[in-house]
């Protein structure tokens, strides 16, 4: 008898059956952990976004030199716009990765047959958020150091960057799932995302300009409220729409 083919294995005997529905958050966490482990081994998205973020900030620094008050009175809004543009375009290079990789590696079928769609969406959203927060931290630190930016209200800037990141991820995760099966993924991701992200960008840039200028928290509360509302609306819509996008 083939030694590999035992008549009844331990697994058979212990009858560890799958429940009809796995706990949602545990399954989402499993998807997140799997994506992190895959990313740490392949470094596809990490390398792409970090390279883009670093090269963008370095290019800004080399092209413009340190931006100082003496050179421009509209400095805070210019700085804020540059920071968010760098974050946005770096995010475009990596945030679609979570779904695109599943389709390109043809693992999506195995995932579809094993996990509830909502768990997949939440896991991928969490992964994108982790990736984006890393990108935001790296880009902002580089931006502050290389362009010699003085941040007047660091707490407000951090809150706006966090709120903006949440909104960005809520909007782009569903779009990443939509474009994953298309042939021109990169361009389509940017084209579909930009109209959705335009309102977020305007509010985040204006709020961040106030934070850089050193204005108080009251100057950023409106922007934070809008970003929170935007995030909740996009997250809810994405959650409802994801089943239609994910199912064949």
């Amino acid at each position: 008898m083939d030694p590999h083919l035992s008549s009844r294995s331990t697994v058979e005997a212990s009858a560890i059956a799958a429940p009809p529905e796995a706990p949602l958050l545990a399954a989402a966490w499993a998807v997140f952990r799997k994506d992190v482990r895959s990313e740490l081994r392949t470094r596809y998205a990490l390398n792409a976004i970090l390279l883009f973020a670093v090269s963008t900030v370095v290019a800004m620094s080399l092209g413009m030199g340190p931006l100082t008050i003496s050179r421009n009175a509209d400095l805070p809004i210019i700085r804020a716009a540059l920071l968010w543009v760098a974050i946005l375009f770096a995010a475009f290079t990596g945030l679609a990765r979570a779904f695109v990789h599943e389709e390109e590696a043809r693992t999506a079928a195995a995932l579809r047959l094993s996990a509830r769609p909502t768990a997949v969406f939440l896991g991928k959203l969490l992964f994108n958020l982790a990736l984006l927060l890393l990108l935001v931290v790296v880009t902002t630190v580089l931006f502050v150091i290389m362009l010699r930016v003085e941040v007047g209200n660091p707490g407000l800037l951090a809150a706006l960057l966090l709120a903006g990141s949440l909104g960005l991820v809520a909007a782009t995760t569903l779009i990443a799932a939509i474009i994953a099966r298309a042939s021109v993924k990169g361009a389509l991701f940017a084209v579909l995302s930009f109209p959705l992200l335009a309102p977020l960008l305007v509010v985040a840039i204006q709020g961040s300009a106030n934070a850089l200028a050193g204005r108080g928290w009251e100057s950023g509360v409106g922007a934070l409220q809008v970003l929170a509302g935007y995030t909740i609306a996009l997250f809810t819509a994405s959650l409802f729409l994801f089943n239609s996008v994910w199912e064949p």
């Binding site: 059956a17 799958a18 399954a27």
Partner: protein, 210 residues
């Protein structure tokens, strides 16, 4: 005794653009039964299995699973379905054990490393659980597909080209899996190998042109 279970495939048609691959395929299977779907390349065997597993939407028709008085669509019966196919791909950047642990976790199963190692041993991959899939041969990858499919003890097992890339020991594994599945539920096998028709209680032959 096997719990009552019925797989009902009703009037399934599959189209790719203007090309109709299958038209009006219907059958019912009960627990303990095995169906072999035979036909040449391009006759729609694999597509039919994908439809049964809810991985592809048919142009027309329905697939329903009846169990314990419940009527489920495939997308509602993920815990009942297992699928092995050449186009089933697992995560090459993860090890075999990491793959199985992930799929167990998303299915809500509490498996220990020993449980998963026992499953790998069962499919002939004992001692290779910590190897990355990227280092697996095609035969080993096929064995891991069986581990993936059997992990949650599915009541309905869909096997597409079940012995492809297998050596004689692999074929013995398939025979054993099918024999066990008779005690647990339903098996649907898609094949163009006449030798595999012996696995079935029934044979459904699909023509290439319809």
């Amino acid at each position: 005794m096997i719990e009552p279970l019925r797989l009902i495939v009703n009037d399934i048609s599959i189209e790719y653009g203007a090309r109709r691959v299958l038209a009006g395929v219907s059958f019912e299977l009960c627990a303990g039964e095995t169906l072999v779907v035979a036909g040449a390349n391009g006759s729609g065997k694999s597509s039919l299995l994908r439809v049964i597993c809810g991985l592809q939407r048919p142009a027309r028709g329905t697939v329903t699973i009846e169990m314990n008085g419940s009527i489920l669509r495939p997308s509602e019966a993920l815990h009942l379905l297992g699928w092995v196919a050449p186009d089933l791909h697992l995560y090459r950047e993860l090890t075999a054990l990491e793959n199985l642990a992930f799929f167990a976790a998303v299915r809500g199963m509490r498996c220990t490393r020993a449980d998963l190692e026992a499953l790998l041993d069962e499919v002939g991959l004992g001692g290779r659980g910590d190897d990355l899939l990227a280092a697996y041969s095609s035969g080993m990858t096929q064995r891991l597909r069986y581990a993936y499919a059997l992990l949650h003890h599915p009541r309905i097992l869909a096997l597409d080209e079940p012995t492809v890339t297998f050596d004689a020991r692999g074929v013995a594994l398939v025979e054993q899996v099918i024999a066990r599945q008779r005690e647990r539920g339903i098996t649907v096998i898609a094949t163009n190998d006449p030798r595999e028709e012996r696995f079935g209680d029934y044979i459904l032959r699909l023509g290439q042109e319809r």
